[in-house]
C-alpha cells in the first residue's frame, strides 16, 4: 500500500518548499504554527466549517488495498519528507505516551498491558518506563477493573482502559452503561469521568464469532459517552490524544486488521476533534459514509468506480456518537445520494442510526433512499469463505453505487 501523506494546513506550502527543515516549518495560512518537535502544540480542529470539498489537507492518493498489510516503504527518499513513518499501533502508542508525559495522572489499565506490552503491542515499553502502577496489569475482571478506572477517574486520575478485545467489554457493560455514562449526570455534575476505553474490535481473520464483535452498536444508546473509531495512523494518534484530553468518557474503537497500517504522520504535536468527520475523497455523485476498516473497502471500490466514471465522495465519519451532521449534511446537499458502508450488523447498528439521522435532517435533499450496506445478522463464522460473505466487500459497494446512481 502506498504510504499516505496527509499534510496539515494548506497543501501548497508543503509540496513546493525545497529547503524544508521540519524543525522550522511555517504554515503561511491563517493558522501559523511553529513546528517544533517538542513544545508547541497546535490543535487540528477546523475552525471554519468548510462547505464541501477538502478540508485543505491535501489530496491524498487513494488507498488501493482494502486490507491493512505491512506497507512497502515509499520508493522516494523519506529523508526529505516531513514527519515520520509508523504503523497504526505505534501511532496509538505515541499518542498515549505523549499524553502520559504531558499529564502524570494519565495511566493505563488492562489485561497484559504492562509486562507483555499489550496484545497488539500498543503499550509496548510503557511499563518499563512508567512503572507497574501507571501501566497496570489487571487480573481478568473486566467489569471490576473498568469500574475501578471509573472510580479512579472520579477521584482525579485519567485512566485509559484497554479491552484486550472489544468483545470482552461486554463483561464491563454494567460499569460502562451505569457508571461511565451516567455518573456525571446522577451526581448533578459533581464528578467527571475522563476515562478512555479502547480496544480492537471488528471482524478479523477467522477469529471466530466471539472475537469478531462490533460493540459500537451495543454502546451507542448509552447516554453520556462519546464513541470514535480510528482508521489511519494519523487519526489514531490524534483521536487517542483527544480522547485522553477530553473530560467526557470516550470509547475509542480500533480494528484488529488495521494495526499494521503504515503512514507518515507529522512530527509536530496534533490533536484531532472527537466530534468531526474526515473527508477522505471529495466527489460529486454519491456520498459514501463509512468508518474503520470499511473505509479501505470503500476506497478500493472507489478505484473501480472512478474507472467506471463515477465520482464518489467518501467520508470517514470517525465520530460514531455523536454524528458530525454538518460534514455529512453538506455532502448530502451536494450529492443527493447516500450510501452507508459499515461493519456493524444490519439490525440496530451505527448505519441504522445514521440512516435515521440523515432521513430526519436531510430528507429534502435526497434523490434516492439511503442505502446501508452492513454485515449480515450472523455470528461471524470461522470458515474463511463464510466470514467473507458476512462482511461487506468492495464488489458489493460498486454494485450499490451503480444502482444508486442510476
Amino acid at each position: 500500500m502506498a504510504a499516505i501523506f496527509q499534510g496539515i494546513g494548506t497543501t501548497a506550502s508543503l509540496s513546493t518548499s525545497n529547503s524544508f527543515d521540519s524543525k522550522r516549518f511555517q504554515f503561511p495560512s491563517r493558522r501559523s504554527y511553529l513546528s517544533e518537535r517538542k513544545g508547541n502544540l497546535f490543535v487540528m480542529r477546523s475552525e471554519g466549517r468548510i462547505i464541501g470539498g477538502s478540508k485543505g489537507r491535501g489530496t491524498s492518493p487513494l488507498v488501493t488495498s482494502a486490507v491493512a498489510s505491512k506497507a512497502e516503504s515509499s520508493s522516494t527518499s523519506t529523508a526529505s519528507k516531513p514527519g515520520h513513518e509508523l504503523l497504526l499501533f505505534e501511532a496509538l502508542r505515541e499518542g498515549l505516551e505523549e499524553e502520559m508525559i504531558r499529564d502524570p495522572t494519565v495511566c493505563v489499565m488492562g489485561e497484559d498491558v504492562g509486562h507483555y506490552g499489550g496484545s497488539y503491542k500498543v503499550t509496548k515499553g510503557l511499563a518499563e518506563k512508567y512503572g507497574d502502577l501507571r501501566v497496570l496489569d489487571t487480573p481478568i475482571a473486566e467489569n471490576s477493573f473498568t469500574g475501578m478506572a471509573i472510580g479512579a477517574a472520579m477521584t482525579g486520575l485519567r485512566p485509559v482502559v484497554e479491552g484486550m478485545n472489544m468483545g470482552f467489554l461486554l463483561l464491563a457493560f454494567n460499569q460502562i452503561s451505569n457508571n461511565c455514562g451516567m455518573l456525571h449526570y446522577t451526581s448533578g455534575g459533581q464528578f467527571k469521568i475522563p476515562v478512555v476505553i479502547r480496544g480492537p474490535g471488528g471482524v478479523g481473520r477467522q477469529l471466530g464469532a466471539e472475537h469478531s464483535q462490533r460493540l459500537e452498536s451495543y454502546f451507542q444508546s448509552i447516554p453520556g459517552i462519546q464513541m470514535v473509531a480510528c482508521s489511519t495512523p494519523y487519526n489514531a494518534k490524534g483521536l487517542m490524544k483527544a480522547a485522553i484530553r477530553s473530560e467526557n468518557p470516550v470509547i475509542l474503537f480500533e480494528h484488529v486488521l488495521l494495526y499494521n497500517l503504515k503512514e507518515r504522520i507529522p512530527d509536530e504535536e496534533y490533536v484531532l476533534s472527537l466530534e468531526e468527520a474526515e473527508m477522505v475523497r471529495p466527489g460529486e455523485h454519491v456520498t459514501i459514509l463509512t468508518y474503520s476498516r470499511m473505509r479501505y473497502h470503500v476506497m478500493q471500490a472507489a478505484k473501480t468506480l472512478v474507472n467506471k466514471g463515477y465520482d464518489p465522495e467518501v467520508i470517514d465519519i470517525r465520530s460514531l456518537k455523536p454524528f458530525d451532521l454538518y460534514t455529512i449534511g453538506n455532502s448530502v446537499k451536494k450529492t443527493h445520494r447516500v450510501l452507508i458502508v459499515e461493519e456493524c450488523m444490519r439490525t440496530g447498528g451505527i448505519g441504522a442510526s445514521l440512516t435515521a439521522a440523515i432521513n430526519e435532517n436531510f430528507h429534502d435533499y435526497l434523490d434516492a433512499p439511503i442505502v446501508c450496506l452492513s454485515s449480515q445478522d450472523v455470528p461471524t463464522p470461522y470458515a474463511g469463505t463464510l466470514e467473507e460473505w458476512t462482511v461487506v466487500q468492495p464488489a458489493q459497494i460498486v454494485t450499490a453505487v451503480e444502482q444508486l446512481c442510476r
Binding site: 466549517r49 495511566c107 475482571a141 472510580g151 457508571n179 467526557n248 456518537k321 455523536p322 435532517n361
Partner: protein
C-alpha cells in the same frame, strides 16, 4: 431439621397471603441453601439475651483486632458525637418514611433504621478527604460523612437544591466536597468504584509522590452483594495491590426477601477474606462501640499501607427492604430479637450507666436533631423543582459531546440547549 435458621424461615405458599405468625412454630421442609449453623449467639432458636452477646467474636488472619474489654472506650465528647449521629440517622429515616407516604418523595426509598451503628461507627472516624461508597441504602452514609440533612432531603424531594441537583434521587447520593462517591442502584456496582478511589490514593502516593498518608476508602454493601462477582473481583485486586480500602459488609441477613442463608453456600462472609490474603473480621453491628474499635484498626491498617480488610457487621434493618416492601416475610421473633439490640438504646444505656452523660443532655440532642430534620423538610419543601434548563447540562462534562448540528455549530452552542429544549 436442626438447622439454626428454621425459626426465621418462610413458608412455601404465597408469602403475601399466609399469616406469618401462624407459621412460626411449624417445622418446614428442607430448602435449597446453606445448612451450616451460624455462630451460636445469633439466630438460634433459644434467643440469647443481649448481655450474653456483648463480646463479639472476631477473627483475623493476622492478629490485628484485639479482644474487647468493656472498659470505657470513648470520651464524653466522642460519645455525644456518636449518639447525635445515630439519632440524626434514625430521625431522618423516620421522616423519610413520613414524607414518602405523604407523597413528597417517590420511587424506591431504602431506609437504614437499625443499622446506624455501622455507619456511625465507621464514618465518624474518617477525615474529610477519605471516601465513602455506598449502595442504594445511602442516606445515612451521606449524613454521617457530613452532607447536610437539607441537601439530602432536597435530593429526595427531587428539588434542584439537592446534593445532586435532584438528578440522582434516593439511590444516588453524591457529594464531592465530602467525598461521598455514591449511591448505586445495582448491588456490587459501587465496589469497583471504591476500589478505584483507593487506587487513586495509592497512585497519588507512589506515582505522583504527594505527601501525607493514604486517604482511605470505605465500601459499604450488603450480604446479597457478597454472592456477586464484582465483590470477589475487587477483593482480589484490593488485596493484590494492597489498596487502602475497607470492605464493610452490612449483613442484615436479608436481600429483599432472600434470606442470606438460602442464598449463600457458606454464610460466614468474614471467612472469605483470608482466601484473598486479607484479614476478615466479624463484629456485632448493633453495637456502635465495637464497630468503632474494629473500624479504627482497619482504617489505620489501610492508612499505613498494609492493605484492605473485610469487616462483616452483623446488623439488622428494622423496616422492610424499601418503603414498597410489606416486610411480611421476616419472622416477628427475629425482628423482636434485634429490636432489643437497638444500637441507639444500647448506646444510651452505655453512656448513662457509665456516667458519661445524663438524660437531659441526650434529650437535648434529640430535640436538636428533630429541629434539624424539620428544618431540612421545610427547606426541601420550599426549594424549587429543577427547571427545564437543567435537563441537558450535566450529561457531559464537556457538552461538546453532543456533537455538531447540521448548521455547523456545536449543539451545545444552540441557545435552546441551556433552556433544555435543544434537539440533541
Amino acid at each position: 431439621m436442626s438447622c439454626a435458621f428454621s425459626a426465621v424461615t418462610m413458608a412455601q405458599p404465597n408469602p403475601l397471603t399466609t399469616n406469618r405468625l401462624s407459621t412460626y412454630a411449624i417445622k418446614l421442609p428442607p430448602f435449597l441453601g446453606s445448612t451450616r449453623k451460624l455462630r451460636p449467639h445469633s439466630l438460634s432458636k433459644s434467643l440469647p439475651s443481649p448481655s450474653k452477646s456483648l463480646r463479639s467474636s472476631t477473627s483475623s488472619v493476622s492478629d490485628v483486632v484485639k479482644e474487647l474489654k468493656s472498659n470505657l472506650l470513648i470520651t464524653k465528647e466522642e460519645g455525644l458525637e456518636l449518639y447525635e449521629d445515630m439519632i440524626l440517622g434514625r430521625a431522618f429515616e423516620d421522616m423519610c418514611a413520613q414524607m414518602y407516604y405523604r407523597g413528597k418523595m417517590f420511587g424506591f426509598v431504602h431506609l437504614y433504621n437499625g443499622q446506624e451503628a455501622v455507619s456511625t461507627g465507621f464514618i465518624k472516624l474518617l477525615k474529610k478527604d477519605d471516601c465513602v461508597v455506598s449502595t442504594y441504602r445511602d442516606h445515612v452514609h451521606a449524613l454521617s460523612k457530613g452532607v447536610t440533612a437539607r441537601a439530602v432531603m432536597s435530593e429526595l424531594f427531587g428539588k434542584t437544591t439537592g446534593c445532586c441537583r435532584g438528578q440522582g434521587g434516593s439511590m444516588h447520593m453524591f457529594d464531592k466536597e465530602h467525598n461521598v462517591l455514591g449511591g448505586f442502584a445495582f448491588i456490587g456496582e459501587g465496589i469497583p468504584v471504591a476500589t478505584g478511589a483507593a487506587f487513586t490514593s495509592l497512585y497519588k502516593r507512589n506515582v505522583l509522590k504527594e505527601a501525607g498518608g493514604n486517604t482511605v476508602t470505605l465500601a459499604f454493601f450488603g450480604d446479597g452483594t457478597c454472592n456477586n462477582g464484582q465483590f470477589y473481583e475487587c477483593l482480589n485486586m484490593a488485596a493484590l495491590w494492597k489498596l487502602p480500602i475497607v470492605f464493610v459488609v452490612e449483613n442484615n441477613l436479608w436481600a429483599i426477601g432472600m434470606s442470606h442463608l438460602r442464598a449463600t453456600s457458606d454464610p460466614e462472609i468474614w471467612k472469605k477474606a483470608p482466601a484473598f490474603g486479607m484479614p476478615g473480621v466479624h463484629v456485632d453491628g448493633m453495637d456502635v462501640l465495637k464497630v468503632r474499635e474494629v473500624a479504627k484498626e482497619s482504617i489505620l491498617r489501610a492508612r499505613r499501607g498494609e492493605g484492605p480488610t473485610l469487616v462483616e457487621c452483623e446488623t439488622y434493618r428494622f423496616r422492610g427492604h424499601s418503603l414498597a416492601d410489606p416486610d411480611e416475610l421476616r419472622d416477628p421473633a427475629e425482628k423482636a430479637h434485634y429490636a432489643k439490640r437497638d444500637p441507639i438504646a444500647a448506646m444510651k444505656k452505655y453512656m448513662i450507666e457509665n456516667k458519661l452523660v445524663n438524660e437531659s443532655e441526650l434529650k437535648a440532642i434529640e430535640k436538636k436533631i428533630d429541629e434539624v430534620v424539620e428544618d431540612a423538610v421545610e427547606f426541601a419543601d420550599e426549594s424549587p423543582l429543577p427547571p427545564r434548563s437543567q435537563l441537558l447540562g450535566n450529561v457531559f462534562a464537556d457538552p461538546k459531546g453532543f456533537g455538531i448540528a447540521p448548521d455547523g455549530t456545536y449543539r451545545c452552542e444552540d441557545p435552546k440547549f441551556t433552556q433544555g429544549t435543544a434537539h440533541v
